[in-house]
Symmetry: C2
Subunit: 287 residues, 2 copies
């Protein structure tokens, strides 16, 4: 299914020779790298858990969320933010295309995400509008952008776990929830089921960010494809509460995710397999 | 009506003490400066020209377009792009808030624009979805972002007027047309009338950008509130074809705009007054 996502991401962007080529090459370079595609998979698998209702919309909308995620990575890596040199095993977008083109590529991907959802003429406009509203809320002042601003300017001050979990929630959990939520909208699920799906995704998102912190402390750049250890002086759950505590928090969130999934009444197999594929290795091997 | 737009822009953004305050202060600082508000006025006046059908949606959607425009100005002014120090009579956003917060504020404004349109629950979802699609097309690979990329990397090479007009179209005309188009969607006008409205806006947009080039060559920073003369080594219509030719092109576009407005069959008074207020002074006084 990851191949299906990658093929669709490729189709949803203009070709690299579309004028101006530099902009579209940068958009494609950053989006079509070797991402895990967790967000689109989450969106599609929610639809599949509901017997595949709205699957083709869920695929495109999941790709839209991946565009938003990639847009945020481009910005995170900029010299004025994390100043990262490597991402997904390759030079970061600004190292390859310069800052100006990278910023425009990021904005272009965010904008294209809204375009992809809005142009689904076969889908009821009410579902599209709601999905766009959900996406905008996840990105904005109570979501990803706010999380990045807090992360940049306030995180060094933190000395206990609660605000870190709050930043994790804004930077990662909110977009996980949006992916699952939009998948549930695509399948036209009832509000109480959407609520369970969102709970599931929130716990997966929190577990994911905690696992990411653990990897950042313990991994090496070659195996994970991005700069590591650069957050060494920034407090994380792992550095404040200890690696063992972070691991327990991760496991607890995964347990709550499974409970929420059971409550939803949806077919759990696909989503459970996704969670296992994400967390099996990192929790099992200790990295 | 400009006061009404300013009041609504203020309401549509989170308060400046919404956490993280730095992000929201930067968004408000850049959006609530002393802009001409041409785009929202255009949107509202198209609705008024159709007897005020859909006016409140046109007001909010016009404010959304103004957010997109402001987002583009923040990026244009960055050190890696035009490196401008003054905008709308005040220090540019990055001079006041730093680059990272400015970039996030820009992305926050673009994202909020999509949110403002999607959350209009009183408006038919089909109209909202179509407006969001129009906005995304105007911003993306065939619009504003493409125009900025071309402007940054290719403009210095130009030695004749045609590609300059093409860049002007992407950077300014496309968003003018989107404003008018969304106003026409708000009023639920027929496709052929929307076509005339879009023609009107395209010619106004082309005239506007040409007038802007003329002002940039001839004005002073104090009277227009932003850096001038910094484009002196960049080819413009005025520098290539001469000031007189640029002025004639501007007048020709305004003539075609009036023709298109007449063809639409809408009440022309409000839109004509807007055009006069924009161009009366700059064309009349020779600056």
């Amino acid at each position: 299914m990851r191949d299906e996502v990658n093929a669709r991401l490729d189709q949803l962007l203009p070709d690299s020779d579309h004028h101006p080529a530099s902009l579209h090459e940068a958009m494609r370079y950053s989006l079509l790298g070797s991402g895990k595609r967790v967000r689109p998979l989450l969106c599609v698998l929610v639809s599949e858990a509901a017997d595949g209702a709205g699957r083709s919309f869920a695929l495109d909308a999941g790709c839209a969320v991946e565009m938003v995620h990639t847009a945020s990575l481009i910005l995170d890596d900029l010299p004025c933010m994390d100043d990262a040199g490597m991402r997904r095993g390759r030079p970061t977008t600004h190292r390859e295309f310069g800052q100006a083109t990278s910023i425009l590529a990021s904005v272009g991907l965010l904008n294209r995400a809204f375009g992809v959802i809005s142009e689904q003429h076969d889908i009821a406009p009410a579902i599209r509008s709601r999905a766009l509203e959900v996406l905008s809320e996840a990105v904005g002042s109570n979501g990803m952008i706010a999380g990045q601003e807090i992360d940049l300017h306030e995180r060094r001050k933190y000395d206990h776990a609660t605000p870190i979990e709050s930043v994790n929630w804004l930077k990662t959990g909110v977009l996980f929830v949006a992916s699952a939520h939009i998948g549930a909208l695509a399948a036209d699920l009832r509000p109480e089921i959407i609520g369970s799906v969102n709970d599931f995704a929130r716990h997966v998102g929190l577990a994911f960010q905690t696992a990411d912190d653990l990897i950042d402390r313990m991994g090496d750049a070659q195996s994970i494809g991005k700069d590591v250890g650069q957050d060494a002086d920034i407090p994380t759950l792992a550095s404040i509460s200890g690696t063992q505590s972070a691991r327990l928090s991760c496991e607890d969130n995964l347990r709550q995710a499974h409970n929420a999934l059971n409550e939803s009444g949806l077919h759990p197999a696909g989503l459970t397999a996704l969670v296992d594929s994400i967390f099996g290795a990192s929790l099992g091997s200790g990295a």
